[in-house]
């Protein structure tokens, strides 16, 4: 009994491990996988080309993509194709990151944001508007009206395919 009391006394003098979430947030590990975002290029165009490879790679069938065709008057992404609909069901997602691996344009990436709460199942479906990152400074929101003939290639030319 004495031993137990001693233990109590000792822990009373120790620094508390409790973190006052949400005022204080614990940093996550470098490779932590949280909520996804859909990235943009500097000019504001969306990286996602609606190829649905992320959806194909997803082991829990959490992603739904529907593609459509860009025009120069209404351009969402470089090239011919963009995602008209892009949805991730966060209740299904297991945060494996396969979608990120599959993406040919590095559009879908998992961030370190783990704050996913919803009060209704339907709210677990994150739409493209929710997932798209804000337009970077100097960029324009999509859809953009662009000069014809500029964005002919969907996937940016990589000088060295290994990098």
């Amino acid at each position: 009994m004495l031993k137990g009391l001693l233990e109590t006394l000792r822990s009373m003098t120790e620094k508390p491990v409790t973190i006052q979430y949400p005022e204080v947030k614990r940093p996550v590990r470098a490779r932590f996988r949280g909520r996804h975002i859909l990235r943009r290029y500097e000019n504001g165009l969306e990286r996602c080309i609606g190829c649905a490879l992320c959806a194909a790679a997803c082991p829990s069938d959490a992603i739904f993509v529907e593609a459509a065709e860009n025009t120069d008057d209404e351009r969402y992404s470089p090239g011919e194709r963009y995602a008209r609909v892009y949805e991730i069901n966060m209740l299904r997602c297991i945060f494996c990151g396969f979608c990120e691996d599959a993406c040919p344009t590095e559009a879908i990436v998992l961030t370190d944001n783990y704050e996913l709460t919803f009060t209704d199942r339907h709210h677990s479906i994150y739409t493209k508007e929710m997932l798209l990152e804000p337009v970077p400074e100097g960029g324009k929101p999509t859809p953009q009206k662009v000069e014809p003939g500029v964005y002919t290639r969907a996937i940016p030319i990589m000088q060295d395919p290994t990098d």
Binding site: C51, E66, R84, T105, A154, I157, P161
Partner: protein, 823 residues
């Protein structure tokens, strides 16, 4: 089958018919030799070199002519110094083929590496990605990485519309030439070709409108890369995301086998929708091809105009009603009246026809087929029989095509008749005007529209070369249509043609017979079940106690019928749309489209084929046979109405021609050649393997009594010297309700117009673009003139289903319309 040849491929000894190519022989043995340019439905060209293999042949002693043997007694085999293309080399006795050696693997790797030097590798956005032979073969045999500089790649136009239906991506094209060869050799519409040379070689189209061919969609199936894709499916979905369902084309009596690809769509509120229509292999019907009407003409099933609620006439207006109300109301209307006439169109399934027939006969009514063409009973008795396949026609056989333009009315039959002619069958085409089929005809019989029956009669008696060619033929297949014929005349025509078969002694042969080129997919089914066209439809309708219309729009087609319908006591309409007929109805039932329900159709060749539900039904709609059964139920007539297969069982019990058939039997398949749809994809392209049924041909009905004399039909002579014979002709893309919602085809749809011969136009003093008023009694129309040298003199052609109320040919007075001065 000819001589067999035995050879060894990768140690496997196989026997195949002489003349077979090594690729095919290997495929038969289950060995895949990769190909790009070869296609089993076309002549090989050996352009891509993907199929290189090692070929060895036995060494023959020149003095003895015997193979030289090795010490162990096996024949000595000499391999050539170079690899050979398996797609151009026919097999020979004792040949040894190696497909798995180091040399072969290196050759394949080299070819793929070269092909990829200029390939954009945009698989992620390519519609072929996921079912692409180039992807597959690269994965299987490619080098994995390239030694070429990316900057060296050719950059070509990626978005080239070849017309509004097909897109070309020049960068993706590997120049295999399949599309060009298909268009010139198979479809015989050489509207695309190679232009330039070397690395600048590319596909171009030079027709107006671009890629002007009824078969253009097939090139997207056989293109081994994503260079050719359809505008309809563009970026619609990835191939692996879609669910395939077997179906049948609803547009013409050929009955091409289709696969409907279905996926959920956010734009459609999360409903499952059809993303694309693909061919399904049936070597007896459409082989691996379909026409563009079948491929792009499915949009009517998802039209927002579809009826979604039963309507009942209350106080003179059609008001929405519940199903219970509407059914009770319909039954009430029928119960009170005698003399019910069922008027059914060829879009109904066999099950629908059968149930409708049961009810009207139980009520002592009449079952009328909405058609202006007769002869279905002759097709029952003198049609093709058993396993007969048009592909079996060749040397010594004959095909007679009368009063129809197959290219416009039934494109796949056109294709198969053309191929029969190319295999050596004697083709005789009889029509009042030149049609595209005549290019392959050995004899052309030209007549004035009014003389058609005499011409055919002269075939029966005559000594003409045509008559002799027909008499000589081992097998004789006769396609007949209704161009320029009234209902009575088409009856007489069918009788004469049946007589021709009997007289020539061909009537008993399985691969001989009559094929009716009906305007709808299941008109023949209507005949089988007992529906018959009515020569005096207007009178029948006007005097009917009640009219029950299904899948027909008489009021929309003809104002006279519309008036007649007004006089009918009570009108029930089952349709997809609120047609002119439906507007005049007392009860309207919304029905399900063929994509939403089960059923069977009987093709013009009397093949009964099943279609399956692909998408969930539009809420509040029901299939025709069920509606009929439910109305019957209110009348106390017990009918099967819950499932199509049970109705079909009843039908099979009741009709001798269907004896022994069931849905299970119709779903049977056998292995077909070429093998398509396997993992390799490179044989038939992206055609679907048939796993859900090839259909069954109905048994030929016994000929019964001696063929009656045909009715002495007089085609009414010209009432006046300057009278014009107005003839409705079929155009593949018409303005029918089942095609108009396919907006993609809008530009190519026929418009209401009057086609005149130059001489006739000169007589009337009109030119293309001017207007002519045609009239006969009360009937009058003003039409825009097109001068066309192919039109016979004294005749005026009007495309069917374009809004001109002309169901049958008609003598009219024509005069130049005086233009109203513009206000």
């Amino acid at each position: 089958m000819g001589k067999m040849v035995t050879l060894t491929i990768d140690g496997q000894v196989i026997s195949v018919p002489q003349g077979m190519l090594i690729v095919d022989a290997a495929k038969k043995a289950g060995i895949d030799i990769p190909v790009f340019c070869y296609h089993p439905k076309m002549e090989p060209v050996g352009m891509c070199r993907m199929c290189l293999v090692e070929v060895g042949r036995p060494v023959i002693d020149r003095t003895t002519g015997q193979p030289i043997l090795e010490a162990d007694g096996t024949p000595k085999i000499q391999f050539g110094p170079k690899l050979e293309t398996a797609c151009t080399t026919p097999v020979s006795e004792g040949m040894v083929v190696r497909t798995q050696t180091q040399v072969v693997a290196e050759a394949r790797r080299g070819i793929i590496e070269f092909l990829l030097t200029s390939h954009p590798l945009d698989c992620p956005i390519c519609d072929k990605g996921g079912e692409c032979p180039l992807q597959n073969l690269t994965m299987a045999y490619g080098p994995g990485e390239s030694r070429f500089q990316y900057e060296d790649k050719m950059h070509l136009a990626k978005h080239v519309p070849l017309g509004e239906l097909i897109y070309l991506d020049r960068e993706r094209c590997i120049l295999c030439g399949r599309c060009v060869r298909f268009q010139s050799n198979v479809a015989d519409d050489p509207v695309i070709a190679f232009s330039q040379r070397g690395r600048a070689l590319q596909i171009v189209t030079f027709s107006e409108p671009g890629f002007d061919s009824y078969f253009s969609g097939n090139t997207t199936d056989i293109c081994p890369v994503g260079a050719l894709t359809t505008a309809d499916f563009r970026f619609g979905a990835r191939p692996w995301e879609m669910i395939p369902t077997a179906s049948i084309c609803p547009h013409c009596p050929v009955g091409c086998n289709l696969t409907l690809n279905v996926r959920r769509e956010a734009a459609a509120g999360g409903r499952e929708v059809i993303k694309r229509v693909m061919p399904r292999q049936n070597e007896w019907v459409n082989e691996i091809w379909i026409c563009d009407k079948g491929r792009f003409g499915y949009h009517y099933t998802e039209s927002p105009e579809r009826l979604r609620q039963p309507l009942v006439r209350k106080n003179g207006r059609l008001e929405p009603a519940t199903w219970e109300e509407a059914l009770a109301f319909a039954a009430e209307g029928l119960r009170e009246r005698s003399g019910v006439v069922a008027l059914a169109g060829g879009r109904l399934s066999n099950e629908d026809f059968f149930n409708l027939y049961q009810v009207v006969t139980a009520r002592q009514g009449r079952a009328v087929l909405y058609s202006t063409m007769a002869g279905g009973d002759y097709v029952q008795r003198y049609g093709l029989s058993g396993d007969a396949n048009l592909a079996g026609l060749g040397k010594g056989d004959a095909v007679l095509v009368v009063a129809t333009d197959l290219h416009e009315e039934a494109p796949l039959w056109w294709l198969r008749v053309k191929q029969a002619a190319e295999r050596g069958a004697t083709l005789i085409v009889a029509n009042a005007r030149p049609t595209k089929l005549e290019r392959y005809a050995a004899h052309v019989i030209r007549y004035a529209y009014s003389e058609v029956l005499e011409k055919v009669q002269s075939l029966l008696a005559g000594e003409s070369p045509e008559a002799q060619a027909l008499a000589k033929a081992t097998n004789l297949v006769i396609f007949f249509g209704q161009e320029g014929l009234s209902l009575e005349a088409s009856e007489a025509l069918a009788t004469m043609l049946a007589r021709l078969l009997v007289q020539n002694g061909q009537a008993e042969r399985p691969l001989s017979g009559l094929v009716a080129v009906w305007p709808h997919a299941n008109t023949q089914g209507g005949w089988e079940i007992g529906f018959r066209p009515d020569p005096d439809l207007a009178h029948t309708l006007a005097t009917a106690g009640a009219v029950w219309v299904a899948a027909a729009d008489p009021a929309g087609d003809d104002p006279i019928l519309a008036q007649a319908l007004e006089k009918a006591g009570f009108v029930i309409v089952q349709d997809l749309f609120l047609t002119e007929t439906a507007r005049r109805a007392d009860v309207v039932f919304p029905v399900q489209a063929f994509t939403e329900r089960e059923g069977t159709w009987t093709s013009g060749e009397r093949r009964v084929q099943r279609f399956y539900p692909a998408v969930p039904e539009l809420e509040n709609t029901r299939p025709d046979f069920m509606i009929v059964a439910q109305v019957a139920d209110h009348l106390g007539i017990p009918l099967v109405g819950r499932s199509a297969s049970r109705v079909f069982d009843e039908l099979a019990r009741a009709l001798p021609a269907f004896a022994g058939l069931s849905y299970t039997r119709l779903a049977e398949v056998v292995e077909q050649w070429p093998l398509v749809g396997r993992g390799d994809l490179y044989y038939g392209g992206t055609v679907y393997e048939n796993t859900q049924g090839l259909g069954v041909r109905l048994a030929r009905m016994s000929a019964g009594a001696e063929l009656s004399e045909w009715p002495a039909v007089e085609i009414a002579p010209a009432p006046a010297d300057d009278a014009l014979y107005l003839v409705p002709v079929v155009r593949l893309y018409d303005q029918g309700q089942t095609l108009v919602p396919s907006h993609l085809l809008q530009q190519r749809m026929a418009r209401a117009a009057l086609y005149l011969a130059p001489a006739t136009a000169a007589q009337l003093g009109v030119q293309t673009g001017e207007r002519v008023e045609v009239s006969a009694g009360e009937w009058a129309e003003t039409l825009t003139v097109y001068v066309d040298a192919n039109v016979p003199v004294k005749a005026g052609l009007v495309p069917r289903s374009t809004g001109v109320p002309l169901r049958q040919p008609l003598w009219v007075r024509a005069q130049r319309a005086v233009l109203e001065p513009q206000p």
